[in-house]
Amino acid sequence: MNIAASPQRATEIQNMTRSDTPLVRFQGVRKSFGELEVLKGIDLEVKSGEVVALIGRSGSGKSTALRCVNGLERINAGELTVCGRTLHDGKVDLRDLRQDVGIVFQSYNLFPHLTVEQNVTLAPRKVHRIGAKEARELSDQVLAQVGLSDKAKNYPEQLSGGQQQRVAIARSLAMRPKLILFDEVTSALDPELTGEVLRVIAKLAAEGMTMMLVTHEMAFARSVADQIVFMHQGRIWESGKGDMLEDPQTPELRQFVGNGL
């Protein structure tokens, strides 16, 4: 396939070469569900290689903001650019976008009828049309990345929650995304299993993967994220480096951190 043939790819490659161009850019993004406005003007940039943690109470809009990035939710106003594609003009090819943007869900959402290896390779085989041998190598590689090389032939139900979530991360990695979204990926896990998933995410961060994560793990956010974004009532209330959690500027964040730690 000639990648330069697609105009979208071409602009994207141009954008990539300019390192100052952010991978994700929210500009005044608004989103409503019926009468309820859940995002009330979000401005946010995520640069290539950056890890951004979205924190805040339930209902603060953080998950919605994340789901806008891969087009699971469509924004109502403002501008949203992701991996060189504009998501606000209704012209984006979502399948094309999702080859660059992976997502990992709270409830893993593995395919229960497929083995771990089949879960990981389904999309690369069907979307990228890779062969069986290449698929096996890809599976070995991404499963090694999440430390589950010995589970390729198992079915999801035979794995622990933490292992299932690591398979979900591997499934996302197998598409070779430029950006991975993590939507409260440890919220369904008990503390013991949370650690193994967070270690995998921290490793990916260290390897330079661009990530946006909605999380309730404050200590983790502080140690891994380059940028922490505290959302409150559909707005970005406060944002900054990891140390902002030690010195909250607003009473809302102070209270949130007080409860969270």
Partner: protein, 214 residues
Amino acid sequence: MFGLTIEQIAFIFRGAGWTIVLSLLGFVGGTILGLPVALARASRRRSLRTGSGLFVQLVQGIPLPVIMFVVYFGISIGGYDVPALVAAGIAMTLYSSAYLGEIWRGCIQAVPKTQWEAGECLALTNTQRFVFVILPQALRIAVPPTVGFLVQIVKNTSYAVVIGFFDLTYSAKVINNSTFMPFTVFTLAALIYFAICFPMSVLARRFERRLSRS
């Protein structure tokens, strides 16, 4: 045996053979037509949902013997003389496709929404997502109610007697007319129906248990 000759019993069993033939016709035809009905019922396109919904409501709102009559006499009005087997087969196909379509629609929709979303987020096309993610899971859910419905098909083939189709009910009636032993004859017919249906009920229940365990 029970006052019936071997020939008379064999005659009844010949009817039972045709009951099985008509059941198979109804099931195969119902599957071929029922699958598109299920897909249309679960479709995102409103026109498909409405159209298939009308078909299902229509068939479910008419008693099966009346469908048999309408198909049988409808075809003969068109100037074609069809054997009762063909008319009964068409009627059974319509009947079972409407019910199987609804059963399978439920199975497709029973696959969690998060599975659709996961497939979508992996950049699969709608068709790929349906074939590789949704359908295999829906099929597993579909096995118990489908086998259970087979029992309904077998029992309801007896309505084909209204258009003179030679099945188990018909053959029993013929033997009764010549022997005047209605209780014996129809008890035998009942036992044969039961012998065909009972194993399927057991099978359906076993599939259901296996599914609920996993």
